[in-house]
């Protein structure tokens, strides 16, 4: 198990270093920030000074080394707009985003998994078909469309909930529902197909043939096995807790990380974009790592062979 975890951690570190290099390359390739930030008619001396200040006059390799060195020290550079520390600008938005994504995540799991299990256990029943229909609708309708429909119904027509902003908890309801719906739909589908696959396995027949009553057979024998594929999707969703709300935050004017990203892109505030990119990458890689470790805990076959397997 230890060797298994060590391998996964090694891979995670490798992935993050790839992302770092990639994001540096993209930034270096998008052009000279000095020209983007300074006005077109700025005097050449001012542009030179800007370059010197941000270390843009060094060679690409030197910049790359400096960039990595800065990151290791937790220095993400300054926002090119207002000169504040980029990391600080990003971090102060995180709680706001989590206020949407964490409840939405609980909603996805709380609805998606039970719905998927129910649908699988009652395959081809009316409720199974209904669940699957809602689920298809849930993830085919883009979240900005769903968000706008919810605004139209609850804010404009019924007037019971606000349409945007973040002043009270009531402002969070519509964005949370919008986020949760698509995720719940995806989880329900995955859980259903994982359960159906597992329920058809010979060991479920064995459990029943040895006299395990059906509800117990489902709980003890089917669920742990069905959890393995479901975990993959859930893990992806954990990874997107920070940056998974870009569209919804824009629709509901919610000042989280997602909206910051959009405005930073629009304003060419590359240091902010880079900090967010890195944050997202680290979140994704970490959640993947956690999923891998959880796999190992649930599925003994992945832990590597301790004993000598005989064929």
């Amino acid at each position: 198990m230890l060797a298994y975890i060590a391998t996964r951690v090694g891979r995670a570190i490798f992935t993050i270093s790839l992302v770092l290099t990639f994001s540096f390359t993209i930034l270096a390739a998008t052009g000279d920030p000095a020209l983007l930030i300074m006005s077109v008619d700025a005097p050449p001396e001012a542009i030179e000074a800007f370059r010197e200040r941000y270390g843009l006059d060094a060679s690409v390799w030197q910049q790359y080394i400096g960039y990595l060195g800065n990151l290791l020290q937790g220095n993400f550079g300054q926002s090119l707009r207002d000169g504040r520390d980029a990391w600080d600008v990003v971090v102060e938005r995180i709680p706001l985003t989590l206020a949407l994504t964490v409840p939405a995540f609980l909603l996805k799991i709380g609805i998606g998994i039970p719905a998927g299990i129910y649908a699988a256990l009652h395959r081809n029943s009316f409720l199974d078909r209904l669940v699957m229909m809602i689920s298809v609708a849930g993830y085919t309708v883009p979240s900005f469309v769903l968000g706008l429909i919810l605004i139209l119904v609850f804010a404009v027509n019924l007037g019971v909930l606000p349409s945007g902003g973040q002043d009270t908890w009531r402002h969070a309801i519509l964005p949370i529902v919008t986020l949760g719906t698509a995720g719940a739909a995806i989880i329900a589908r995955y859980t259903r197909s994982a359960m159906l696959e597992v329920l058809g396995q010979p060991y479920i027949r064995t459990a029943r043939a040895k006299g395990v009553p059906w509800p117990k057979a489902v709980r003890r024998h089917a669920l742990p096995n069905a959890a393995i594929p479901t975990l993959t999707v859930v893990g992806l969703m954990v990874g997107s807790l920070i940056a998974g709300a870009v569209v919804v935050e824009s629709v509901f004017s919610w000042p989280g990380v997602g909206r910051l990203l959009i405005s930073a892109v629009a304003n060419r505030d590359l240091m902010i974009v880079q900090a967010i990119l890195l944050l997202v990458a680290v979140c994704m890689v970490t959640s993947n790592l956690l999923v891998d470790i959880a796999y190992g805990l649930i599925d003994p076959r992945l832990r590597g062979r301790s004993g000598s397997r005989k064929t």
Binding site: P202, R205, T206, A209, K210, G211, V212, D299, P300
Partner: protein, 334 residues
Amino acid sequence: MREPLVRINGLTIDFDTGQSNVRALHGFDLQIEKGEAVGIVGESGSGKSITWLGALGLLGPRARVAGSVRLDGREILGLGEREMAAIRGKRVAMIFQDPTSSLNPVHRIGRQLVESLVLHRGMSARSASAEARRLLERVQIAAAAQRLSEYPHELSGGMNQRVMIAMALAGEPDLLIADEPTTALDVTIQAQILEVLKEMRRETGMGLVIISHDLGIVAELADRVVVMYAGRPVETAPVSRIFDAPRHPYTRGLLAALPEIDGALERLVAIPGQVPEPHKLPPGCPFAPRCAQANANVCDETVPTMRAIAQDHAAACALIHTAKPEALRSLELA
């Protein structure tokens, strides 16, 4: 009259495929006495496995099982899930073809054995794990204590089938149904498993239903044999009669088509054609299209039923019963 352990009457199984209904078992009758070993032989689609899965309510919602299955005189077909669960594993246990995928991959061997012991013998977790170890030793698994904490993927196929047998013994059943128990195993491992099954039967006196496509395995384990074809039994007799004096053309054909390990090396006499699909059965005798003796007037008209030929020997073939003596003789010669 004393009730047999199991009495199956007119068992039929239909599968609802959505558009249509396909009958997979067309009426099956059988009695099994306490301690008796019955072999069920057939090819794919003969209905040999689903008969038993259906009788124990293990076929799932798309199967419709009708008829009667009595255990010690008590009707068990149509019992509720909880009452059926109390019978499965306790009165009637089952083992399957692919032992490794028949065990839960995420549970340790010990836990899977203990589960049966707690269910059927009401044991506490501690005494159950001591008993689990004893069960593994009974099926001759070396280092039993260590095996208890291993997972199925860490054991060989033969070892896993021993675990399945140990698990079946946990409930001290009256009848063990072994559905192709050695088909997925190598021949030397198959020999071990057959030994274990014989040994367990000697020890416990439990009855056995051995389901196999391999006549050799059935011959080895069974007292009595039922030959099935296309969802129907076609011949039943004590093991010696079925192999030494088979009467149904299909049984004879199967034996003639079987390559042998010794004896004269002759060209095999193959049965022509192929096993009919369940939804495309011929109108009369299901074997008629492949049968060299088939008589268009008799065999293509009605489905023959099982009728006694001699003591304990019955066959479903119109020719055996209607044929004039000379026709019978030609059947003997064939």
